[in-house]
Symmetry: C2
Subunit: 146 residues, 2 copies
């Protein structure tokens, strides 16, 4: 998919990714070793009552699932993420889906070969609860006539 | 550090984290297998001219470095990230520092044991260039009188 193929208002849903305790702990030991992410016993004493995935890990799962939306050939660069919100904890055994709704697109003001696309990203669990949401701004190629 | 210890306007700098090509490729193979992150030859053909770290990886390094700011005992939950911007590519050999400036704090309106703190986060490379910035909203414990 190129910039040209992004249709505003459409939603695509891809998945799933199943997360387990080993996955949560091994990611967090490397990147975010808080007790609530790496220590099952300590996690029980937190407001979450058990192990939860690191926010960085949840974002990484979003990124991995985004590869199932066939935009890779069109992506030039990441423009940024806005309003990243962690609505619910991600717990061992959760099965996660990604919903992408294209909400905005505009051609680049300076470079005719590219445009800027905004997707509303929602990561949902098996109960349909949104666990993560954000807006993702992506710089994408415009198909060139030959 | 608890909510009480956060002084608005102060900046703390921690680091460093040195990233190499193996680190970039192994993270991205797992979480973000775009050619620009996993394939040195293909990466040369992109606008970046070589391997760059995945945005998720850059954010994970930010999270890891944040553990050197002693707020962990005070953290209750993540409130969210705003205006996440990837200003410059992170490349093999880069050495990264984290600068945190506390820009806002307020007690919770509903729960007297906690407050909401906002930190401006900047990840900088060895040349002093900002590679990543965002605002991080953190829910923190307020010290209770006994």
């Amino acid at each position: 998919m190129y910039y040209d193929d992004i249709e505003i208002g459409t939603t695509v849903r891809v998945g799933s990714y199943r997360i387990d305790a080993g996955d949560i702990v091994s990611y967090a030991k490397r990147w975010d070793p808080l007790p609530v992410h790496v220590d099952e016993q300590a996690a029980k004493q937190t407001v979450f009552g058990g192990l939860t995935a690191s926010g960085s890990h949840t974002v990484a799962i979003r990124t991995l699932l985004l590869h199932r939306v066939p935009i890779q050939d069109g992506v030039i660069a990441a423009g940024g993420w806005d309003e990243v919100r962690f609505h619910k904890p991600v717990r061992p055994g959760d099965e996660l889906w990604l919903e992408v709704t294209w909400i905005e697109k505009r051609p680049s003001a300076s470079k005719p070969d590219r445009g800027i696309v905004t997707g509303l990203m929602k990561l949902l669990n098996q109960d349909g609860d949104v666990v993560l949401s954000h807006r993702d701004v992506i710089v994408m190629r415009i198909r060139q006539s030959v």
